[in-house]
Amino acid sequence: MTPLRASYDAGLHLLDRQIVDHEDLPVANVDDIELLERADGRLAVSALLTGPGALGPRTPGRLGSWTVAVWRRLRPDPDPRPGRIEARLVTHTDSAVHVSARARDLSVDGFEQWARAQVIEKIPGAGRAD
C-alpha cells in the first residue's frame, strides 16, 4: 500500500489540511502549495506553504490584502517568503499530511516563537506538560 494517494484533488485532499510531524503533533496547516515549472512544462509540487504569507493571498477581499500587508511589514526582509516545507519531507497522508522532520527543525512558526519568547516563557511552569 503506497503511503501517498494515486492522485489528489488539491482542494479536497491537501489544501487547508493539518500538517503533523513524526510524533503526530501539529506543525501548521497547508495554507497553499508551491508549484515549480519543470523543464518539460509540467507543474510539479515543490513545497507546502504555511502562515499568513501563504493564507493571506487565498483569503479574498480586504481582509486578505490586509493580512499580507501586515505580514510583510513584520518581516525584516524586503521580499519575505512564507513558511515553507519541502515536498520531499512528506511521508504519507491520511486525515493529515505527515512530514518526517521534527517541528522545531522546520522553522515555519515566527508567531509561535514570538509568543513563546515574549509571553509564555516569562510565566513560571511553561515547561511542564499536563
Binding site: 492522485s7 489528489y8 484533488d9 489544501l15 518539460d40 507543474l43
Partner: protein, 120 residues
C-alpha cells in the same frame, strides 16, 4: 507570466489557480477552476498538475464534500450532486496556456468528470 514555452523554472502557488477563469481557445468562458488534480509519484515532489476540475461557479460549491462519496445522508448527497452536476474536467494535454497574472486558463476542450485517474 504566461507560460507558453516549457520549463521556465518559475515558481507559482496552487492557490492562484483555484477559482481561475477557464476559457476555450475561441474565447468562450467555460467556467472556473474548482479543483486541481495532482498525480505522479512515488514521492510528493514527483506529483504534477494532471488537470483541472471545472465548474460553473467558483470553488466552495463542494462544501468539501467528496464528489465520489457514495455514503452520507440522502439530503446532503442530493444537494451536493445538484451543485456538482455541471462539473467537467480538463486533462493537462488539453491545457493550452496559463495566464498567472490574469488568473485565466486557456483550454482546448472539456471532458466529463470521472473518478480520480491520471490522464497522461
Amino acid at each position: 507570466m504566461p507560460t507558453e514555452r516549457p520549463g521556465t523554472g518559475a515558481v507559482h502557488r496552487l492557490g492562484e489557480l483555484m477559482g481561475a477563469v477557464v476559457v476555450l481557445a475561441d474565447g468562450t468562458r467555460a467556467g472556473h477552476v474548482n479543483d486541481v488534480r495532482l498525480a505522479g509519484g512515488p514521492g510528493l515532489p514527483d506529483y504534477v498538475v494532471d488537470g483541472f476540475v471545472v465548474g460553473a461557479r467558483g470553488e466552495g460549491a463542494l462544501l468539501g464534500y467528496d464528489r465520489r462519496a457514495v455514503r452520507g445522508p440522502w439530503l446532503l448527497r442530493v444537494l451536493v450532486r445538484a451543485a456538482n452536476r455541471d462539473a467537467r474536467y480538463v486533462p493537462w494535454p488539453a491545457v493550452r496556456r496559463i495566464d498567472w497574472e490574469a488568473k485565466v486558463v486557456v483550454v482546448d476542450r472539456l471532458d466529463p468528470l470521472e473518478d480520480e485517474r491520471p490522464s497522461a
